[in-house]
């Protein structure tokens, strides 16, 4: 027994050690990854972010260097007081600030670099650079920021900002402090613009000091620069549109029907994209974000779902023809409205009875109520008719996401039988329950971009391309989904009478006062009732002014939708703006300066204040115009090169 104590102990200890080793190295050990090894420092090399150009090659977004003053607190030497005062003066901070910043950097880490002053101006940097050697422990780090070459298109171009934790968790590419597109094309073309960052693996010791490249750099990679992109926006048209929309709220979307390229994408109110660059980014962003009244970050061209109003009537005319329930010469009488049961849908004074042409250009509610009823009632049950109607409407890109390359969007709404079955129960509703759909009110909702796309489809006589913003990527094809023709369910021959009707809107109808000489514009006015809630009570506001149009009549080069919130009737604000946009795009110069002057001297700010005034207010016809001093048109917008010769 005595002989075995030591032997036994040795073997026992040996087995315990083997067990412990097994536990540490095999059982609880994760597979080794160089990226997770905290003995290896990963130094990232950020590539240049791609530039953004407009369709005519005008540079919109570039990069600019920015200089951060960094500090490694442990290495900071005592600076004598005159030098210290000079240093503080150079970087524009007080002596107390200096001490506060230094000690907070020290608390973060004495050994690791912290940002002392971010975004030094170029001038400060130049002066400071000369004197840097005097201040040990401080150094200047260069970063790249976006540089906007324009003050327009904030909603189009978007901005970049630091990644948040959620993104880091979902995408291992990003690390804390990396920049990522937050809105606009910066977001939707993030992967193209950012390139691929390079990585260097550096062996470090336990004091975090670098002691040379890991394995002589065999795992290191070089950065791949971001690609430049050209977007479909026409910067001149975009700027002009933003000018016209000043002091108004709403959106303008202009599309080239032959390609689906978005020519202009205006959301008002907007802001200067330069606000979201540099030292004041977060302050400015917070201010924009918190503005819950004007909502400048809300893209009204893409995200706002409005009742489409009268322009939607053109679709009902097309569906009626396609379904064979009406001909162009069928006439319906209208005596200031359409009666059904004991109810009435109002209309305005015009000639009666109306055929299709008159129905469109006078925008007769009664005419379209009849057309709509014939479409739905063609089938045995309203449910069946409703679904047929709904499919026709949806073929124009309404009622669902467009699946384009814009960072935001809304599906809009197109009702189907299911919608009403849910609301009323199966077989418990009839066509007249849904009669508002005839005139684009009711359950239909659409975003301006969907309306513009609808106008493009009508201008194309039956097809459209998904509206998109990418025109060209350096060394790459644009995605196939944007070059595929999407056909509507309406046959080509049914379009001519409708197009003619829209043409007559300008000739002799609701928009005859906003004609542009020399351009054959087809359009349709719209006026949409809308409501808000004030203290829980439903209150009607002044109607939205809506206009959709395309021009020229044959082979249209531009199709657009204009929504002006609370602008009252269609041609009052939206119609004028649409005409000006079309003339600007097609001719470059404006002949109807009277329209331009009117738009630039009329504001809707008073209108927007009403619901917040706390007092009773009047709407629509009982309102007064708010006339302001004319906003000057910048010289470069007056005589630009016409985009279309």
């Amino acid at each position: 027994m005595r002989r075995f104590l030591l032997l036994f102990s040795v073997v026992f200890v040996g087995l315990v050690f083997l067990g412990r080793l097994f536990y540490l190295q095999v059982f609880s050990s994760d597979t080794y990854s160089i990226l997770e090894d905290n003995a290896i420092r990963k130094v990232y090399d950020y590539p240049k972010r791609g530039y953004v150009y407009d369709r005519n090659g005008k540079l919109l977004v570039a990069n600019q260097p920015s200089y951060d003053l960094m500090v490694i607190p442990r290495e900071v030497q005592e600076i004598d007081s005159s030098d210290l005062r000079e240093f503080c003066r150079l970087i524009n901070i007080s002596l107390e600030d200096y001490n506060v910043k230094l000690s907070s950097a020290y608390r973060y880490s004495p050994r690791l670099p912290s940002v002392f002053i971010s975004h030094l101006s170029k001038e400060d940097y130049a002066v400071l650079q000369e004197k840097m050697r005097k201040y040990e422990g401080f150094y200047i780090q260069k970063r790249s920021l976006r540089s906007y070459q324009t003050t327009i298109g904030a909603n189009v171009l978007g901005d970049i900002g630091e990644v948040n934790n959620r993104i880091i968790k979902n995408d291992p590419y990003y690390r804390l402090g990396d920049l990522i597109g937050k809105q606009g094309v910066e977001l939707s073309y993030e992967n193209t613009l950012r390139g691929q960052k390079g990585i260097k693996f550096i062996q470090k010791d336990r004091f975090n000091k670098n002691i040379g490249p890991y394995k002589d750099g065999i795992y290191d990679t070089l950065p791949v620069p971001g690609k430049d992109i050209t977007i479909t926006i026409d910067a001149t048209l975009q700027e002009y549109g933003e000018l016209l929309m000043s002091h108004k709220r709403g959106g303008i979307i202009a599309i080239e029907p032959g390609s689906g390229e978005i020519l202009a994408m205006i959301s008002a109110p907007s802001y200067d994209p330069n606000l979201l660059v540099g030292r004041d980014r977060s302050k400015n962003f917070t201010r924009l974000y918190r503005d819950s009244v004007a909502q400048p970050l809300f893209d009204r061209g893409l995200q706002a779902m409005y009742p489409p109003g009268s322009p939607f009537k053109t679709l009902n005319a097309l569906i009626g023809l396609q379904e064979g329930v009406i001909t162009t010469s069928d006439r319906f009488s209208c005596s200031m409205g359409y009666r059904y049961g004991n109810r009435k849908m109002g209309c305005h004074a015009h000639r009666s009875p109306a055929n299709m042409n008159l129905g469109i250009y006078e925008s007769c509610n009664s005419y379209f109520a009849n057309v709509y009823r014939r479409i739905i009632d063609k089938y045995e049950t309203p449910a069946e008719g409703m679904d047929v109607w709904s499919n026709h409407v949806k073929s124009f890109g309404l009622g669902n996401y467009l699946n384009n390359d814009l960072s935001v969007g809304q599906p809009g709404k197109v009702p189907s039988a299911a919608t009403y079955n849910r609301a009323y129960g199966e077989n418990r509703w009839s066509t007249t329950f849904t009669i508002s759909n005839a005139i684009g009110q009711g359950e239909v909702l659409a975003t301006p971009i969907q309306m513009a796309n609808m106008a493009a489809a009508i201008g194309n006589r039956g097809f459209y391309y998904t509206p998109h913003i990418i025109k060209h990527i350096e060394g790459e094809e644009i995605p196939e989904q944007f070059t595929v023709r999407r056909n509507t369910t309406i046959d080509k021959e049914h379009f001519e009478p409708v197009v003619q009707g829209m043409f007559d809107v300008y000739n002799k109808g609701t928009a005859k006062y906003v004609q542009v000489p020399g351009i054959e514009i087809c359009g349709k006015t719209g006026t949409a009732e809308n409501f808000t809630r004030i203290d829980g009570e439903r209150v009607q506001l002044t109607d939205h002014s809506i206009f959709v149009a395309f021009a020229p009549k044959d082979n249209p080069k531009i199709a657009l939708a204009v929504f002006v919130e609370n602008g009252y009737w269609g041609s009052r604000f939206a119609g004028r703006i649409a005409s000006l946009m079309i003339e600007k795009y097609l001719h470059g110069t404006i002949s109807r300066t009277d329209l331009e002057d009117w738009i630039l001297t009329h504001s809707l700010e008073h209108e927007y204040q009403k619901p917040y005034s706390g007092e009773p207010f009047r709407i629509n016809g009982e309102t007064e115009f708010q006339v302001i001093d004319k906003i000057e048109v910048p010289q470069h917008l007056k005589h630009p090169k016409p985009a279309i010769e």
Binding site: R2, R3, L5, L6, L7, S9, V10, V11, V13, G14, V16, F17, L18, R20, L21, F22, L24, Q25, V26, S28, S29, T31, Y32, D37, A39, I40, Q203, K204, D205, R206, I211, G212, Y214, K215
Partner: protein, 426 residues
Amino acid sequence: MNRQLDRSYRFDWPLILLYLVLVLFGWLNILSASHSGEISSYFDLTQPYGKQAVFIILAVVLIAITLSLEAKFYERFASIIYLLSILSLLGLFLFGKNVNGATSWYGFGSITIQPSEFAKFATGLAVAKYISDLETDLSTVKDQLRTIAIVLLPAVLILLQNDAGSTLVYGAFFFVLYREGIQQIYLIAILAIAMIGILTLKFGITITMVSLVILTIVVNLYLRKRKPPVIPSIVLLLISFVLSFGISFFYTSVLKPHQQDRISLWLRLEKDPDKIEQMKQTILYNLNESEKAISSGGLTGKGFLEGTRTTGKFVPEQHTDYIFSTVGEEWGFVGSALVVVLFVLLIARIVVLAESQKSQFSRVYGYCVASIFFVHFLINVGMVMGLIPTVGIPLPFFSYGGSALWGFTILLFVFIKLDSNKINEW
């Protein structure tokens, strides 16, 4: 000539082979743990690995000297060697050089010598000599005390030089005494004290005492004696109480805070996660880094000179006390398990050889050697893997350091010499 050759063949070659493998593998790990990028020469004397290479060559010279001396020399001069060793330890109080708080070194220019590394071998010889004396009877308390005095003298001197780790090694001699016939009660007492100590620290005095009382009653009931040994039981319990109280007092009032922390971490007494996290950054830092390095090695390791944590010098003192973490990181489970097995084989081989000795002196000395290696192995590897509270002692043949290497080499080869001579002992 022929006779000499015969004799040389009686050296235990497996043991010598184990020694060589351990020393060379140890040096490779020192190279890995101490190089800083470029390796210009393996004998670069500005670097630990270069120095260690020189130490190893000098160790070969020492081996030659050790083996060439007559086996009888060690038995005959054991007392004098012991005396010289004690003198060298005493001399430290006058001429010692202070390194990291311990006054354990003599400095000759850039060379330092640590006499405590040689004192183990000297004490082993002295203990063997005393026990093998025909007049010594280890079953008597007197001779037990004298033997213990021989062991304690160098141990106390080393403790006074503030090298608590090396002092603990002298506990190894218990295995020797036990083998040579001290009463069983000592083993039982040591185990009992260890148990009471751990119970007291982990659960407190009250719970320890209550459980001991219950244990006593159960044992008495189980024995079913007509007259239960009431008085001895009560005496034992009283002794236990005093022990428990004493250990508790020792822990709270005698130990320094950093020693308390080590024990409290080992016994998992600290429950506050913040405190533990803070400890990981301070006193637990070495252990934490060493465990991470070992764990990161995985099954097959990152490869020689490829350990990122080793190259980055994340584990402080890695080429000395924490050398085993280099093995763990670069050679993985396969390599570190091999090292454990090699040590077990080495120690077991020594024990087996010791048992086969015909002279008591050789046997006792062999036991001394085996026990000392065992305690070093147990404490060092156990500590590096976090099984034992942090105690700074080297891993034989692996850790960087000339004195330690030479001390262990002499310790082992004196036994090999004695073993080779057993044929002549009748």
